[in-house]
């Protein structure tokens, strides 16, 4: 048994090892389990973007990009297994797509010298590049998301939230707990009352939580949910006839799979987003010619244009731009993980660049630096139109409240630095 196992593993490793000339970006995806519906779309978007670059442009700088997949099922132990099994194959950068796995990998990537990009998730204080040398979380993080949502609520209420109650219904995990600190600060600043309602993962069962909401009648409910928890929450909200336009999700609670099960009852549900919605971009023309029509689409192209697909694509875009920058800086297309890190740190994505990529206005312009690993952190608000079955953007990019966030990020990063005796850089 052992011998056969060793032989099989050896065979697997040889089969999986890429030709040396290619760049490897492992795709730690999850297509099974309670988070599979969302993870599926994201992984397809991530794969398809790189497939398009490979097919249309012959890769980046002449280097094909490989995205070997590894199933994590959103489980940290499997995530560690995936990380260990892929890091040997010259992995350039990781996008683990799970806040739990990100926490697991933050110390590991620093020890192994491989950068990690966590667009819109992960540890918020990783924005402080002076402490988190190997981790990047552009264009926005969870605290940005919380602040953007509160700013939107301020706009709706004419700039005053005094005396209002906001309930936070959250996935009882590292992901869901992230915004609490920010919302507490914001509640002090704007005078609203925050009530915290945890939902234990995976969260199919939320009767008692929504009973509590029915009793307390908060003015607004912010939803930090993921996977099957979102569908359950939106369905329960509909059941207690909670006004949908007062229920606002973070971007991970803003996919079609989350609202569709509730049908017409989900009409008017809002969520934050840090990327554009729909397929009204020139980019999709190229995608159709080079990927969809040639049958090379990941997962058969069933999810193209969906919210989570777009987000996966956007994550791939950020990594691809990082690779391009790294190749420029290194002066060679065959970059290493360390050069990739330098590239990400010097990354700048402008409006003009987004237009050039065929995605005008799809993402915000941002610039990273040694200090700032998180970009500008803006977000928009989208609203679900159940009859047309699509998301509509109802705001422009909203700037988060940096006066509140920056000190919090600094404090958390300092605490991490002290715990792990890290000497801050960038001076």
């Amino acid at each position: 048994m052992k011998l056969r196992f060793a032989a099989a593993v050896a065979a697997a490793m040889m089969a999986a090892a890429p030709a040396l000339a290619d760049l490897t970006v492992p795709n730690l995806s999850y297509r099974t389990g309670p988070y599979g519906a969302n993870g599926n779309q994201y992984a397809d978007g991530f794969n398809d973007y790189f497939t398009l670059l490979n097919e249309r442009d012959g890769g980046i700088g002449g280097q094909k990009i490989l995205t070997p997949e590894c199933e994590t099922a959103y489980n940290t132990e499997k995530g560690v297994e995936c990380y260990e099994s892929t890091k040997g194959n010259n992995a350039l950068v990781y996008n683990p797509f799970s806040t739990g796995i990100t926490y697991q990998l933050i110390p590991k990537v620093a020890a192994d010298g491989i950068p990690m990009v966590t667009p819109g998730y992960g540890r918020t204080s990783a924005k402080d590049g002076s402490v988190f040398q190997w981790v990047f979380n552009p264009p926005a993080n969870y605290w940005d998301g919380a602040s953007v949502i509160v700013k939107h609520l301020l706009d709706v209420n004419g700039g005053d939230l005094n005396g209002k109650t906001i309930a936070l219904v959250y996935h009882n995990s590292a992901f869901g707990k992230e915004p609490i600190r920010t919302l507490e600060e914001l509640s002090k600043k704007h005078g609203f009352t925050l009530s915290q309602i945890p939902v234990d993962p995976p969260g199919q069962e939320q009767k008692s939580q929504w009973l509590q909401i029915r009793r307390e009648k908060p003015d607004y409910v912010i939803l930090y949910g993921w996977g099957v928890m979102n569908q359950a929450a939106i369905q329960e909200a509909a059941n207690i006839r909670y006004p949908m336009e007062n229920l606002i999700g973070i971007w991970w609670a803003g996919g079609e799979v989350d609202v569709e099960p509730a049908g017409a009852a989900a009409n008017g549900y809002k969520s934050a987003t840090f990327n554009g919605v729909g397929m009204d971009y020139p980019f999709y023309g190229d995608l159709k010619t080079h990927v969809l029509d040639t049958g090379k689409a990941s997962g058969g192209g069933a999810h193209v244009g969906k919210a989570m697909y777009s987000r996966g694509m956007y994550a791939a875009l950020i990594i691809a731009e990082g690779i391009k920058k790294a190749q420029e800086l290194a002066g060679t297309p065959e970059i290493t993980a360390a050069q990739m890190r330098d590239g990400l740190e010097a990354l700048e994505i402008t409006e003009a660049r987004m237009t050039e990529l065929g995605l005008p206005g799809f993402g915000q312009p941002f610039q990273l630096s040694c200090q700032n690993h998180g970009g500008s952190g803006m977000g928009m608000i989208q609203q679900w139109d159940a009859s047309a079955k699509q998301w509509k953007l109802i705001t422009d990019f909203i700037q988060p409240d940096e006066d509140v966030l920056q000190p919090l990020i600094q404090a958390d990063a300092q605490a991490f630095a002290a715990e792990n005796s890290i000497q801050p850089r960038c001076n």
């Binding site: 997949e69 199933e71 489980n75 590991k108 945890p198």
Partner: protein
Amino acid sequence: MLYREAGDFKTSYRDDSQTFPLKLDRMGYWVTLAVAFGVIPFVITDYWANAVLVPFLIYAIAALGLNILVGFGGQVSLGTGGFMAVGAYATYKLTTTFPEISLLIHILLAGGITAAVGVFFGLPSLRIKGFYLAVATLAAQFFLVWLFNKVPWFYNYSASGQITAPERTFLGYVISGPATSAPAKYLVCLAFAVALAWVARNLTRGTAGRKWMAIRDMDIAAEIIGVNPLTAKMSAFAVSSFFIGVAGALLFSIYLGAAEASETFGINKSFLVLFMVIIGGLGSIFGSFAGAAFLVVLPVFLKNVLVGAFGWPTDLAAHVELMIVGALIVFFLIVEPHGLAQLWRLTKEKLRLWPFPH
């Protein structure tokens, strides 16, 4: 023919009651230990340590612990995940509060704390049995996970509720934190696994083990012949929880490096370890290792074969893997309800007689 005691004479009672009465078995045992301590540390890679051997050893410790309670003591428990969480959080609190004391001592202390918690949640076993006890321990599982989520003191008020293992050294070698080398991780877990398996073997064949088995087989009869059910049951819970606490502490500090209560120590963990015990064989030390190997190594093996060698899509492979593991569990339980340990025992019996059937 291959495997027989002919010529293997015993001249003392001590020899007669040793763990491995057959010479071939004894040699196998020493060779395994020699390879495990003398060869594997020099050839182990990060992948083999983190994906296969370290989780296997840690789950083997947990399965040993649960086997003492379920297999030897006859008390059903579904609280394993919760008790592992106690071990993990106790280690975290101890090692962050007293960083100058060795992590290995903290791991043992965490086992002790878990033993105390286990005894407390084992108290209902004096009044209730079987399924009712299972439900009482299930309450422990949910209560403990809820507690570690609810009270920020346990995770030192970190923003995300995660606990992270700080870097600790032993004899100058890093044994926890991201800079730990694969051999260091492996050797720490191996040392604990071997020592605890030795303890378990010697406890279960001594007075304590006989009392547990007497209670398991018929508690009233045991009481009549003078076994005190209070001490027998409580010691089973204490020893079992100690093992499980050590496993939880190792899982957090050596293997994962970061953990959160509901994700890492959820009800799934309890079932996983219970399945290991049932598939491996109730009341068997070897069975605990076999069960842990079956449920830790097999999925990784299948994944590598299906995705790596056959090139299947990862989602299909993940689903097929669940089906294969599930089907094998059902198959084993039908063909051999006493687990892999009994299968091994039968094989040995057959080998002794081979090539003569009678």
